[in-house]
């Protein structure tokens, strides 16, 4: 079977404390740009981006959620039915790492059963002020079966790599996808394709 034109569509949600760089990661991935002062997200933003693997195309429908506490109760609305999640923390903040662990637990408890979770330690460009050690996060990720990468939305280090790793790990059998909410036609915003 020729898989070259096969497009798989997945719902991905970003979670994490306020100001850890969720929107910056998404905008780096989708639009290829970075703002030094990224406004805080209100509610949630919906974007789409496609990743080409060797023989398949994976289209991510991305929910970039707001990190503020007042939006916490709305989070299930976004991660319900998501096949993938990126839980983001700021490597300069232990609190944000603690918060990330809580999000992982919530996803494991209430997310889709086969959800692919990636843990992203963002702001790697500011490693001089690091408060969360790579080894510590790495170990936590391994113990919990998470993908793990340290990223920098500012320098774009590991941003595409992170999404590609997720794309690789997602099952490419659309008919058996759990909690599929993918009956919608392609997202309306112009999407670009990252060839990797």
């Amino acid at each position: 079977m020729n898989n070259n034109n096969k497009i798989f569509q997945f719902k991905l949600v970003l979670l994490g404390e306020a100001a850890v760089g969720k929107s910056s990661l998404v905008l780096r991935f989708v639009r290829g740009h970075f703002l030094d002062y990224q406004e805080s997200t209100i509610g949630a933003a919906f974007l789409a981006q496609t990743v080409c693997l060797n023989d398949t195309t994976v289209k991510f429908e991305i929910w970039d959620t707001a990190g503020q506490e007042r939006y916490h109760t709305l989070a299930p609305m976004y991660y319900r039915g998501a096949q993938a999640a990126i839980v983001v923390y700021d490597i300069r903040s232990e609190d944000s790492f603690e918060r990330a662990i809580k999000w992982v637990k919530e996803l494991q408890r209430q997310g889709s059963p086969n959800i692919v979770i990636a843990l992203a330690g963002n702001k790697l460009d500011l490693a001089a002020k690091r408060r969360v050690e790579t080894a510590e996060a790495q170990q936590y990720a391994e113990e919990n079966g998470l993908l793990f990468m340290e990223t920098s939305a500012k320098t774009s280090q590991n941003v595409n790599e992170l999404f590609v790793e997720i794309a690789k790990k997602l099952p490419k059998t659309p008919t058996t996808r759990p909690g599929s909410a993918q009956t919608q036609s392609p997202p309306p915003l112009p999407t670009s394709t990252t060839i990797l």
Binding site: Y37, Q38, E39, S40, G43, A44, A45, F46, M77, P188
Partner: protein, 465 residues
């Protein structure tokens, strides 16, 4: 000449008074202690942990803090600081506690503190339990107008959290600021807007001037995509309304809600990057719960944005489809998209276009629909201070003619050193027209009649019908 403001002018407080059956405004006589506190500066040092906000590191120890003309403070009834326009609200803790004490003192006598004057400063209090909002200003605006501005700031907070959440949070002794995270900039922005927006001054919404055929086509397209999911469909550009369709005729969208909404949309540039789905409360529609708002800029370079409201939290995908269908219809109607983009670029008009002789400026409100229109400022209103001066004059005149809601002045004629403003308030409309103070009365009346005729002739393009 018009900067005195009598407390009885205030509709709001009058209403409040009649409800609570209390005598008119109370003053605190001795505020010298407070003022000496202000002059000597507080005891707390400033902590600047939000460098992105202007003046964030000021407090009562910084001389610059006292130079701001117009301060806004928001705190809980128990005096917990929530917001300060200038300076760090935590560092201003003691200052807000003094304001809170003043208000509690009057309350303990079963009365309500509304205004007080101290030297050049007016203090205006607005009680919206469990919150208290205070403006301290030397701008000499009418008290009732400032109270309305405080109302807007309050509505904004309700739009973010709902009144139910605010009450619960305060009752639980939880710090409201934790829930408001990131809201400061919206409050900053609405405070800035209410101080210059003529449509807010008239309690109205400004419509984008647009050829009526074009507008009808757009409105028809929005109507064709009505559904049970959608309460309101709105097309807007910046802070101007292009089209609005309601699911039910009985639904009311108050100007205040529209402005709070526009403020939230226009102060978030990241909405242009994606489709967004946000919970928002429209305080005059239902202050107890959220609606869900779908936001998408269909032509981001022209600031043209579509807003779809739903009561259902999971309606996003459906609304996204609706938007696609609406956009498709716009694109497929010949010339519509281009004409719309062109109109958005060129909709501003100047008084020259009215061809009314001697006219300097005007503001007009259609009373039944609460839509307004006005030209851009043109000379002599070119500089910022001149624009502001005219705005302040309008504030006083609006306050004066509406001073008694039962018996507003039908006609009002004001002449001062800089201008003559003639006002007509009839069942259908309010018109404020500005002329040079040197014009003869007969000329002014003639021009006024011509202007009314021009508005009537252009009504279809100036307003949504």
């Amino acid at each position: 000449m018009m900067n005195d403001s009598n407390n009885s002018d205030d509709n709001l407080s009058e209403e409040l008074n009649s409800k609570l059956n209390i005598p008119s405004a109370s003053y605190i006589e001795d505020i010298s202690q407070l003022l000496s506190n202000i002059e000597n500066g507080g005891v707390l040092g400033g902590v600047n942990n939000r460098p992105v906000r202007k003046h964030a590191n000021q407090d009562t120890t910084s001389p610059e803090w006292f130079k701001h003309k117009k301060h806004f403070f928001i705190f809980s009834q128990s005096g917990k600081p929530i917001y300060s326009r200038y300076g760090d609200e935590v560092a201003l803790n003691t200052f807000m506690a003094s304001l809170s004490a003043m208000s509690s003192f009057v309350e303990s006598q079963n009365d309500t503190l509304r205004y007080l004057v101290a030297g050049d400063f007016q203090f205006v209090f607005l009680h919206r339990p469990p919150l208290v909002l205070v403006c301290i200003t030397k701008t000499k605006e009418p008290n009732s107008i400032i109270a309305t501005q405080l109302e807007y700031a309050h509505s904004l907070i309700v739009s973010v959290l709902t009144q139910t959440t605010i009450k619960m949070c305060i009752e639980a002794k939880y710090d409201l600021r934790d829930l408001l995270g990131g809201t400061d900039k919206f409050i900053d922005s609405i405070i800035h807007t209410v101080d210059s927006d003529l449509s807010i001054l008239l309690n109205s919404v400004q419509c984008l001037k647009l050829n009526s055929n074009l507008r009808n086509s757009l409105t028809n397209i929005l109507s064709n995509h009505k559904s049970d999911q959608i309460l309101f469909s709105i097309l807007l550009s910046g802070n101007k309304l292009i089209s609005l369709v309601k699911q039910k005729k009985s639904f009311q969208l108050k100007p205040q809600d529209v402005h709070v909404l526009m403020n939230s949309v226009s102060s978030t540039s990241s909405f242009k990057e994606s489709e967004s789905w946000i919970p928002i409360c429209l305080p005059n529609f239902n202050d107890a719960s959220y609606l869900h708002l779908y936001i998408c800029y269909i032509y981001p370079d022209r600031d043209i944005c579509i807003l779809l409201f739903s009561a259902q939290a999971d309606a996003f995908y459906q609304l996204s489809e609706t938007k696609k269908a609406i956009l498709k219809d716009i694109e497929e109607t010949e010339g519509l998209a281009d004409e719309l983009k062109k109109a958005v670029q060129n909709h501003d008009y100047s008084i020259n276009q009215t061809e009314v002789p001697h006219l300097l400026h005007f503001i007009y409100k259609c009373r039944p629909t609460q839509f307004s229109t006005y030209p851009i400022y043109s000379p002599p209103y070119s500089s910022k201070p001149e624009k502001k001066r005219l705005f302040r004059l309008y504030q006083h005149i609006v306050n004066r003619v509406n001073s008694s809601p039962q018996k507003f002045h039908k006609y009002f004629y004001h002449t001062s050193q800089h201008e003559t403003v003639i006002v007509a308030i009839v069942g259908h409309h309010e018109l404020y027209a500005t002329f040079s103070p040197l014009e003869k009365k007969s000329t002014v009346f003639e021009s006024f009649t011509l202007l009314l005729q021009w508005i009537k002739d252009n009504e279809q393009n100036l307003f949504l019908n």
